[in-house]
């Protein structure tokens, strides 16, 4: 799992993940989200290059969304693949965390 951060407009931070949100990748992602400056409360998680999402990855995303929500912020998911969307649908993640298809929509949803 490789992760890169990029500042977008309106104080939104884009976190781009490349790899699998399996056990190993989710550990990396969890540590990365936990280390982000607490002043960053609006985060777009770019999942375009995430090729696999398991329940351990759902756990990281829900945990992050809850933490941001608790600080008055928001997590938005950007462009998950079809398999990841099915996992989100089955678990209900798509009902509690916004999913955007492009970066502009994601920034608006996070702002």
């Amino acid at each position: 799992m490789e992760i890169k951060d990029k500042e977008l407009d309106h104080g939104v931070l884009k976190v781009t993940m490349t790899g699998s949100l399996d056990v190993a990748g989710s550990d990396v992602a969890d540590a990365h989200f936990a280390a982000i400056d607490q002043s960053k409360t609006r985060i777009v998680a770019d999942l375009t290059h995430v090729d696999f999402l398991a329940s351990v990855g759902i756990r990281v995303l829900v945990k992050t969304a809850k933490a941001l929500g608790g600080r008055g912020g928001k997590l938005v998911l950007l462009n998950p693949n079809d398999a990841a969307r099915r996992v989100m649908f089955t678990t209900g993640l798509d009902r509690i965390v916004p999913i955007a298809d492009d970066e502009q929509s994601a920034v608006i949803a996070a702002s």
Binding site: S20, D22, V23, A24, F52, A54, S55, V56, I58, R59, V62, K63, A65, K66, G69, A83, R86, V87, T90, T91, G92, L93, R95, I96, V97
Partner: protein
Amino acid sequence: MADTAITLGADLAEIARMNLWLEANHGASEDVFERMKLCLNEAVENTIRYGLKSGQGGKVEVRLGQKGGCAEIEIIDNGVEFDPLERASPEAMTDLESASIGGFGILLMREAATSLEYERREGRNVLTARFCQREA
């Protein structure tokens, strides 16, 4: 069945090796492969994390084969007796505040597999998962 098999130790890092093995050997459609991979990851993670004891010879064997035109996987471990199918699936999340942050593995396994069966066989847990092609 057992056209091919892999044996994993009691270490979560073994899941990466399992995924490479599955990718090289599945011979199924993309849909069936994705569902097998998800089910296997959930089942094997659960077994290694909770069922096996590191340093005490804990092992998981995964067998991959075909039966009746469907892919079939057997997951066999020598850990503590545990039937994952006896556990109730959690409800899907409906709001962020009340959402549980974990426990969705069994829900995803049930959704991914066409059928799941558990048996205790000769002191081992045996979980059999079938994956038939779904209608488009």
